[in-house]
Symmetry: D2
Subunit: 314 residues, 4 copies
C-alpha cells in the first residue's frame, strides 16, 4: 500500500444522467474513455463533482460497479467514501473495497461539531478498517473543517493516509504541507483540486491535480502536466491561463448558486459539446436552462472548445 503513489492528472468524474435521472451508461463510457484517451493518470469517482452527496447508497454502488468495469484497469480508480462521521465512513469504505476500487478518499467528519482531536482520530479509525490506500480530502467549504498540514504529515508518516486531495483554497497552508511532507521524505502524494491555479500548486510542489474542469478539457490538463515534468514553466502558465478562462463557464450562472452552478455548468458544457446527452441534475438541484446555457456556450466558443458557429443544443 505504501508503494501506491498517485501523480499527474486525476479528474473527479462528473456523471451523466438521463432526463429521468438514471445513470446514462453510454455517455458515462464516453466521458470516461475520452479522459483516459487524453492521457489522465487516474480517475476519482464519487467526489463532490460526482454528486456523491446526492446519491443513495444503491446509486453509489451502481456508479462504482460501472466505473470499475468501464475503466477496466487502464488507470487507478479512486472512490469517495463520503459520509458524516467515522463508522458511517467505515461502512462506505468496506463497500467500496468490495467493488474493487484502488484507493479511497475520505473527508474530515462533518455535521457534528468537533475539534482537531476528533479529526485525527477519525482517519486513524478508518485505517484500522481497510487496507486500501487512503487519501484525505481537505474540503472546508463542504465539511467546515480545515485539515492541518502538520497533522496530515504525521498521518502520512504513520502510514494512516497515503495522500491528500487539497480543495481547501488555502494556498499558504498547501505550500507548508508540501514543505513539511518533503522534510520527512515525501510520504504523501499531494494533489490540488483547484483547477484554476494548478500552475501555482505545481510551483509549490504538488504531485498532481484533481481538476473538475478536466471533465470538459482533459487534454489541456495532461499537456500542462507534461510541460511541468519537462520544466517548461511558460507552457504550464499559458495552458493555465486558457483553463482559468474556460472556468468562466461557471461564473455567470444566474439561476442558482454553489453546486448547481458549478457542476451544473460542467454538465451543461459536456452536453453542449456532445459528450453528455443531457445536463440533468439530481434532486433537489435543477439543470441550467435558457440564458445560462447560452452563456456557457459562449464561454466554450471563446476558449475554442466549440466552433464559433455551433448552435445551442436543446
Amino acid at each position: 500500500m505504501s508503494e501506491f503513489k498517485l501523480h499527474g492528472v486525476i479528474p473527479p468524474v462528473v456523471v451523466p444522467l438521463t432526463k429521468d435521472r438514471h445513470l446514462d451508461l453510454a455517455a458515462f463510457e464516453r466521458t470516461v474513455n475520452r479522459m483516459i484517451d487524453a492521457g489522465v493518470h487516474g480517475l476519482f469517482f464519487l467526489g463532490s463533482s460526482g454528486e456523491v452527496a446526492f446519491l443513495t447508497d444503491a446509486q453509489r454502488y451502481h456508479v462504482m460497479q460501472e466505473a470499475v468495469a468501464v475503466v477496466n484497469g487502464r488507470v487507478p480508480v479512486l472512490a469517495g467514501i463520503i459520509d458524516m462521521e467515522t463508522m458511517r465512513v467505515v461502512d462506505q469504505a468496506k463497500r467500496a473495497e468490495a467493488f474493487g476500487v484502488d484507493a479511497l478518499v475520505a473527508t474530515a467528519p462533518f455535521y457534528a461539531l468537533g475539534g482537531p482531536k476528533e479529526t485525527e482520530r477519525h482517519f486513524r479509525v478508518i485505517r484500522e478498517h481497510t487496507d486500501l490506500p487512503l487519501y484525505a480530502y481537505d474540503l472546508p467549504v463542504c465539511v467546515h473543517t480545515k485539515l492541518d498540514p502538520t497533522m496530515l504529515v504525521r498521518l502520512g508518516k504513520d502510514g494512516v493516509i497515503q495522500g491528500v486531495k487539497d480543495s481547501s483554497g488555502d494556498d499558504v497552508q498547501f505550500r507548508w504541507l508540501c514543505l513539511e511532507n518533503e522534510e520527512i521524505g515525501h510520504p504523501l502524494s499531494l494533489l490540488t483540486g483547484h483547477e484554476v491555479v494548478v500552475d501555482g500548486a505545481y510551483m509549490s510542489g504538488a504531485d498532481g491535480s484533481v481538476p473538475g474542469l478536466a471533465n470538459v478539457d482533459p487534454e489541456s490538463y495532461v499537456k500542462q502536466w507534461d510541460a511541468y515534468q519537462a520544466g517548461d514553466w511558460e507552457t504550464v502558465r499559458k495552458i493555465q491561463d486558457h483553463l482559468a478562462r474556460l472556468m468562466f463557464v461557471t461564473r455567470h450562472v444566474r439561476a442558482t448558486v454553489g453546486f448547481g452552478a458549478g457542476v451544473g455548468a460542467f454538465k451543461t458544457a459536456l452536453w453542449q459539446m456532445g459528450v453528455f446527452n443531457s445536463n440533468q441534475m439530481r434532486e433537489p438541484v435543477q439543470p441550467l436552462e435558457g440564458k445560462d446555457v447560452e452563456e456557457i456556450v459562449n464561454a466554450l466558443k471563446y476558449c475554442g472548445l466549440l466552433p464559433q458557429d455551433a448552435p445551442v443544443r436543446e
Copy 2:
C-alpha cells in the same frame, strides 16, 4: 396527518452505550421510562443529541426498533432522518416509516452548497415520498443553512411540513416565524431546541420545546410547561433560571469542544446520576474523564441534581 400537532416537552433522546460501544438496552429503557414518567409529551430519537451522525444505518435501525418497542405508544415517537441530500433523506424516511415511528424530522440538505431554491425543493420532494408528519429541523450550526420563516410558513400552508424544530439560535427569526404562522392560522407546530431560553420561546408563542437537557432533568421542563399553560410566568422564569444554571455542566469542559463537550457532558451527568452505566461515546469522540467529570458532578450538586455528599463514580 394535518391533524397531527405536537406540543409540550419532547426531549431529543441521548442514547447510553456500553463500554464497548453497543446500545445499553437496560439504561436505554431506564432513561426513556424516566422521561415518560416525568410527563414528557413526546420523544425525539436520532437527533443530533442522539448521535445520529455517528450511527451506521444498521445502528439507526436498532435504535428505532428499540425506541418504538420501549415507548410502546405511550407518547409520540419522532425519528431523525438526517442525511446529506434529498434522495438519501428519502431513503432514511422510508426505513423510519417501516419501523412504525409517528413523525419524521429532516434538516436542510448539507455538504453540497446550495441556495434557497434547493432547500425548499428538498422538503417538497421528501413530502412526495412519505405520508408521515414531517418536521423541519433548523440547525445552521450543523448544516450551515438557516431556514427562512416565510418559506417554512409557505411549506406549512401547503401541507409539506407539519412543524419546525428550531435550533437556529436566532430568536428574532423565531419570533417572526411565530407571527407569520399565526397570521395564516397556525398550520405549524413550532418547537424550540434552545434549552437555556425556553421561557423566551414560550413568550414568542412556541408550541413546545425539544431540550437536550431534559434528558438530565425532565421534570423541571414538564413543570415549566405546565406553568406556561397556567399563565404563571414567574414560575416559568424561575424554573428556566434553574435549568440555565444546570446547563453549566456543558460549559467548562476542557478535553474537547462541540458535540463531545455537549452531549459528552449530558452522558456524564446521566452516568453520575445512575441513569446510565457509562458515559461512553461513539468514534471518533472520546468520553470525558478526570477533572471534566468532577466539574460536572459539582454543577449537578450546585443545582440539586446530586446530593452534596455524592461520590464521583468511576
Copy 3:
C-alpha cells in the same frame, strides 16, 4: 461611578439628515424630545444606528454637542466611542468626556485579528484613561468578536465596566451573563439591543433595553418596561408581538442589505411619520425609495403607526 446604573429603555438615537447630508437640527430636536416625552430612561448617541461608523470625527463632535444641549440633563446621555483599536478608542473617550456625556460605550477591538487576551486588556486600558462609566458593546456582527460572559462579569467585579449592551443575538450566552452577574452581586447593568425579543431578555433578567426600533415607537417600549416592573407578563408579551410585527419595516427591503436596509428603514419610517424631514443616509449608503418606501408605509399602517389613508410622502 460605580453608583451609576442604567435601567429601562435607552434608545440608540437615529440621526436625521438634510438632503445635502447635514445634521437636520430641527428634526433632531423633534425626535429626541419625542422619545424623552414618551418616558425613555436614557439616550445612546453615536451607536451603530446613529451612523457612528460613517461620521468623521468633526461630525461626531457636532452630534455630541447638540445631543448634550438638546437633552439638557433630562435623561442620561451615553456616547459611543467606536474605533478600531485601543488607543484610538481612548482618543474618542477623551473627546466624548470633554463634551459632557454621562457614560461611554465601547466595542471589542476590530480590524486587527486578536484573541480573548487582547479583548480583555483593551477594556482595562480604556478604563485607565477615563473616569466615566463604561459600557461594553457586544456586537459580533460588526466587530467579529463575541464577548465572553465570564470575562464581562470579571471586568464588572473589577470596576472596569459598569454595564453591557448586548447585541450579540446569542440569547443563551446572555442568560448566562445574567446568571453570573447575579451570583456576584449584580455589578453590571445588562441591556439588550434586540428589539424583537426584549420580553425574552426581561425573562432572562435584563436591566433594560437599547432598541433601535424605539426611535419609531418609543411609547410601546416604555409601556412594556412599566408592565415588566409591575410583573404583568401578558402585557409585556403582547406589546412585544406588536413591536416584532412593526420590525417588518426592515424585512422586505429590496434595494440593499444590512445597515442601509435596517437604519434606512427606520429613517424612512420616521420620515413618513413626519418626525424626520427626509430619509437621507450617509455615503456610501443611499436612501430607500419607490417600492421600498411603499412597503414601509404599509407595515406602519398595519401596526397602527400611520392612519390607513395616509399618503406616501415624497
Copy 4:
C-alpha cells in the same frame, strides 16, 4: 495619475517601537534603508503590518512625516488610509495627501454591514476627493468583504483605482482578476500580499508583491522578482520555498493568535537580527517572550538569517 503604475516588491513596513511605545526613529531609519538598499521598488506605510489600526491619528501623521523624510524620494511611498466608512477614509486621504505621499491604499468599508453597491460607491466617492493614485486593498480577513474582480476592473477602467493589493487569500479570484484586467488593456497594477506563494501569483500575472515577510528578508524577494523578470522560474520557485519556510517564524507562536502572532513574530525576528531594538507592540497587544522568542530564533537559524551560534537577545 493614470501613468503611475507600481511593480516589483513593495513591502508593508513594520514599525519599530521603543519599550515605552514611542516610534524608534533610529531603528525605523535602519529598517527602511535596509529594504531600499536591498532594491525594493516601493514602500507601503500604515498597512495592517504597520499597525495602522492601533495608531491614533496623531501617531499616523508622525509615521507619515518620518516615512516621507527617511525615504526622501528614493522609492514611491504608499500610505494606508484605513478607516471604517467612506467620509472617515476621505479625511484620512486628505491628511495623507498633505504629508506628500505618492499613493493611497483603501480597503472596503467595514463595521457597518453593506453590500456590493455600497462597496463600489465607496471607492468612487474617495476618488472624488483626491487626485492621488488609489489602490484597493482586498483584505476580507479584516474587513469581511471580498472585492469582486469584475468590479475592480470596472473601477480601473473608469480611472477610480490604479491598482489592487490582494491579501484575500483567494487565488482563484486573483487569477480571474489578472485575466479580466488583461482583457481590457491592463489598467490596474495588481500586487499580491501573500508572501508565502508569490511565485503562484507571478504565474497568474501579478505586477508585484507586498510581502510583510520582506521586512525580515527583503533581498530574497527582490532576487525573486529579478528572476521572474528574467523568466527563470526555477529560481523564482526555489526562493519561494526558502521564504515559505522562513514564514514558519509566525507558525508556532503560543502566547496569542492573529496579529500579535504574525506581526509580533516579524518584530521579534527583526529584533533578534539587530534591525530593531525591541519587539514592543501597541496596546492591547503584548510583545512575544520566552519560548516564543526561542522558536523564532530557531526558525531564523534554520533559514540562514541568523548564524547557528547566535545567542537569544533579551
